[in-house]
Symmetry: C2
Subunit: 265 residues, 2 copies
DNA sequence: ACGGCAAGTCCGATATTTCGGACAACATTC
DNA sequence: GAATGTTGTCCGAAATATCGGACTTGCCGT
């Protein structure tokens, strides 16, 4: 796309990988950062080199540069590296620059504070679901957030809202087959999934229990654009044994917040 | 540092700039991102090229790569670029990985929600002050946050706490001379500054009014480490005409939060 | 004390990336 | 509608950044 000639000459599968081992520094850095994000833990340089297929001497060189720019930070004294403050600054600039997300931040913070439960704002990226904003509740039973981690759509409550503009056959071709397989080995029946979606659309919210995690219930409400397409969801992650009355009032809160974020009908 | 030989051969002032125009892609990218952060607004590619001194063709090439990695995003249809979602994901990973900051997030969110006023968490970076966390209050009179933007220490309330472990002469040599000059042209007297610092240390908090902005008051309390050094501050940014009783209770809130974040005495 | 392993540095060669400049496609001005 | 400016693409050449591999240092267990 960026370079028609290269594509004609070699076309190494969309520029993903060069035949020879040699790569640009920038591509190495992108791979490095994606790797750290997928691990979500400080990592030793030698491991990064091995797992990303980057020569050791190259990684040392690049890490030095990135640490100096504060994109990365050397941790403890154990020789591991992880993201540095610059990433936070740039990330904050991004959040502030996107209108919907900036507004969603206020809602999510408010919901979490009001209820004391974890509240999230979620969107699709490609054919995967991901958490964009996460405000831990006072309960804080899940420590590490999953912001920006791709999850199969059928594993989530929000996923049932985010595809509700598609026709059933479109949904099935959109979502990869293996994504219907839950982490514990169970398989989500396709017609059940379709039923959930219809139901969710009618109700204006969705509730799932024990989907990914046996003891967790998710409540989600849709944020819709001018064409009424669900472009995001706002949701609660709560213990499955939460009382029904309480859940009902949380759903009302969600719908009110989602309405505020939606383009008025 | 990374390369002794280069330093001996040419020593281009700490590797900052090569005599010749040629530079590594990575260094161009770092300059690009820093530039976007300092502007804090989506920017046209041609302007980036001009203002960072990067050749136009190089910027186009790099921006393509970065957009594909979602580090940058093309905005609107006006040909501007700005930070993309990947920065937010990496930034969130950073926040979650630093114990003090993770705890501070809860405090700042809580303070902002309780009081409805803007609350921040601030630290030093080199000889500059910067806002690390910002939770806008319901008032929201300042739209754009200033997260990660360097500010002279004397311009801020928190700055008076963050240097309180230094002796007066150390402070004066630590803070660049020009940083005592306020944006409106007034100059902060050195002995007055020293007086503020002593006072702040005695009170356990600091209040400044109309320092950078005529109508704004800042209240700040120190977060201290095991050696009682002030390593961060937590603060409110409020209208200067806020009632004294209200301010007093906000100060109490701040001190309580700061205490929670500090290493117990 | 010794051998084996991991962390980190250094250096020269060459495959590759950056760069300048030409060019095409539009937009804007007079 | 001609002149001028802006945005983006393309290409070859030359400067250099990446890479492999050798080397040092420190740690560990035996």
């Amino acid at each position: 796309m960026a370079n028609g000639v290269t594509a004609e000459k070699k076309a190494p599968a969309r520029g993903e990988e060069r035949a020879n081992g040699r790569a640009r520094g920038i591509d190495r850095v992108i791979a490095l950062m994606e790797h750290l994000h997928s691990l979500r833990t400080p990592t030793r340089i030698a491991d990064i080199a091995r797992d990303t297929g980057t020569p050791r001497s190259t990684v040392y060189e690049l890490v030095n540069t990135l640490v100096e720019a504060r994109w990365l930070e050397l941790r403890d004294d154990d020789g591991t590296v992880y993201f540095g403050p610059a990433m936070h600054y740039y990330g904050s600039d991004y959040l502030d620059s996107v209108d919907l997300i900036r507004k969603a931040r206020l809602e999510v913070a408010h919901l979490a504070e009001m209820s004391g439960e974890t509240s999230q704002f979620c969107m699709l990226e490609g054919d995967k679901y991901l958490v964009v904003l996460n405000e831990p509740g006072r309960r804080m039973f899940r420590i590490s957030s999953e912001i920006g981690i791709k999850v199969p759509i059928p594993w989530t409550a929000s996923g049932r809202l985010l595809v509700d503009h598609l026709k059933p056959e479109e949904i099935l071709s959109f979502i990869p087959d293996e994504d219907f397989l839950l982490p514990d080995g169970r398989r989500i029946a396709r017609d059940e999934f379709m039923h959930d979606i219809r139901q969710a659309r009618e109700n204006g919210y969705v509730r799932t229990t024990a989907l990914v995690d046996r003891f967790t219930t998710c409540l989600a409400a849709p944020v819709r654009d001018a064409s009424r397409q669900c472009i995001a969801t706002i949701c609660f992650v709560i213990p499955a044994d939460t009382g029904e009355a309480e859940q009902k009032s949380m759903i009302d809160l969600l719908i009110a917040s989602a309405e505020k974020l939606s383009v008025p009908r």
